[in-house]
Symmetry: C2
Subunit: 122 residues, 2 copies
């Protein structure tokens, strides 16, 4: 078993354009340390997984349902199951922590090459 | 609803001697930003809740089952359900993130006065 590990030994996984995650996965929880590119946008989306998170460094503008707020280090979010949410990243980029339960098993299906492909031409 | 909040507005909750937590609780997850006093010890214990976590600042020596490791910022742990674990805190103290699923509903029963009471005399 390897239950104690340093993040730098966990390979980054591309999730979306400008969004990469280092992931520790358990039976009930996915913990992801997520790097967000400067000025990036995570468009509105939702999922059955409950999500809770925290800004580690940088700034983001976070919308959960009808609430919107600018958050810096120590700013937190709680996203109930199937609640739409979106993020706009500050000009210095951001590192955030995202936690999901149940685990984001759908992330295992992400094709890294598809994420790296430019928006145009496809 | 208040799904977006700054940690500094979340009152610290004493958990054990030298261990206080700022808690964001969901339906399936407890996220706790935990402050650990310099040289403190979280004695071996276990719980049904799965636990995953991360050092934000400082250093700790973490034991999960038979594994022991020194961890600094970016060091992570994954503690399967009912697996014994313990922590010794470095001389500068530490701030860590701990995530639990299911939520630590037992923490709601903690009596802050009992935690603050000295070990002797009781």
């Amino acid at each position: 078993m390897n239950n104690l590990q340093d993040l730098e030994t966990v390979g980054p996984k591309p999730i979306w354009e400008g969004v990469t995650a280092r992931i520790v996965e358990g039976d009930r929880i996915t913990m992801a340390v997520v790097e967000l590119s400067p000025g990036g946008v995570v468009p509105e989306h939702g999922h059955e997984n409950e999500q809770i998170g925290l800004v580690i460094q940088g700034r983001v503008t976070f919308t959960v349902g009808e609430e919107t707020r600018q958050l810096g280090p120590g700013g937190t979010w709680r996203i109930p199951s199937n609640t739409p949410h979106r993020v706009t990243v500050g000009e210095d980029g951001a590192v955030v922590l995202d936690i999901f339960s149940p685990p984001r098993s759908d992330w295992q299906q992400i094709d890294p090459e598809a994420v790296r492909r430019p928006l145009w031409p496809r």
